[in-house]
Symmetry: C2
Subunit: 205 residues, 2 copies
DNA sequence: GGCGCTGTTGGACAAGCGCACAATAGCCTT
DNA sequence: AAGGCTATTGTGCGCTTGTCCAACAGCGCC
């Protein structure tokens, strides 16, 4: 009933969709759920989004993009590439809450059927890899890291993180978040010829 | 119309479900699709499976279990742990066809909503990790590998494989199957203190 | 202050879903 | 050959989904 500007309304819809997605997963999110969360009618959503695909993609873009931006800006506070990489892992612990990774999982699976979601998750995934690759490249140029192919190293570190998080989230395995980070950090240190412990972020809350 | 023994019929349903799942994804597979694929009525499926959850779980169990068994038996042909590990990677290339990994992806995502699927994917995932861990343990005992914690190493190798395959399948990235294997092999060699190239499986078709 | 534009409503709609159930058809036993 | 058991059928119920659309309401402009 209360009138909003188009921009505000669009924003409100995305936030509502995000809340629902976090609560019950991307695949189970329906137009009616989102409308009910906002306290408005369901028809309103289609006034701002062409299809459910677009809405889910926009909401996922918001969530994942926010995490990416937060990590990126936090990393700039690091003095050099090694500190920045250390911050990357430390932030990753916080960024990848239980629900955040479940969202990524949903997006990957849903990508097979929903073009907009596929485009979005693809774009954001590459952005994460690029963030990592740039840091590694800087480290190599500064002579504080050694790495044959920064692109490949970035893909591998990211994949190990994702793969481990997958095990931790999809099933309840003997891997909690702390272990995921510890093992990933160890791998990154070896891959980049860093002394053991130089990326050591104590994963305390 | 043709009468089958209960065991045969159950088998036929699972195989049909598998075909449909491969064709259009686990989440989009319906009772009617499976029935149509078999050329029978939809009611028949519920005569053999209590719910859709059970059917999907059984079909996934079949597909993933088959791959696991094939890999396990092929590995026994290796003379020692190192050869067996090499065979593991070589077989993984073949086992993880495009559709096979998409199935794993679907299973991980569906696990949040479907108890039977969760149980199955969890069990099979651990089985894969155990296969790897046992081989590594044998290698350590034979003194041909070095590894502080075989369990952890197995989790990491498997996670890197899965993580990389994720990137390759969910989006079409600059990672094809050959690269996935090459990078995983390199990681395994480093992690297990093996000489570079000792796991070298040429990933030719 | 009336008017028109547009955000907003709420329900209709067709399609599709899992599942259940009475009726049918085929095989095995006696 | 008859009877009974069960695999199999086909349909239909209840529900949910995304999308659409005619009616309504509130805001800004002449």
């Amino acid at each position: 009933m209360p009138r909003m500007t188009p921009a505000e309304r669009r924003e409100a819809i995305i936030e509502a969709a995000l809340r629902v997605m976090v609560g019950k997963g991307m695949a189970a999110t329906t137009v009616r759920d989102v409308a009910h969360d906002m306290g408005t009618s369901s028809g309103l959503i289609h006034h701002y989004f062409e299809s459910m695909d677009d809405l889910l993609a926009a909401a996922f873009d918001r969530a994942a993009g926010r995490d990416l931006d937060a990590t990126r800006t936090t990393m700039t506070r690091g003095a050099g590439p090694v500190e920045q990489l250390s911050i990357f892992f430390a932030t990753y612990v916080r960024a990848e809450q239980d629900w955040a990774f479940q969202l990524w999982l949903d997006a990957w699976a849903e990508a097979a059927r929903r073009p907009a979601v596929r485009e979005t998750s693809q774009r954001l995934n590459v952005a994460w890899q690029q963030l990592l690759a740039e840091t590694i490249r800087a480290g190599v140029e500064h002579g504080v890291m050694a790495c044959g192919d920064p692109e490949a190293a970035a893909w591998c570190i990211l994949s190990l993180l994702d793969g481990l998080a997958l095990q931790a989230v999809a099933h309840r395995l003997p891997l909690d978040r702390r272990v995921v980070i510890t093992w990933s950090v160890a791998y990154a240190e070896a891959e980049l010829s860093l002394p053991s412990g130089s990326l050591g972020c104590d994963a305390r809350q």
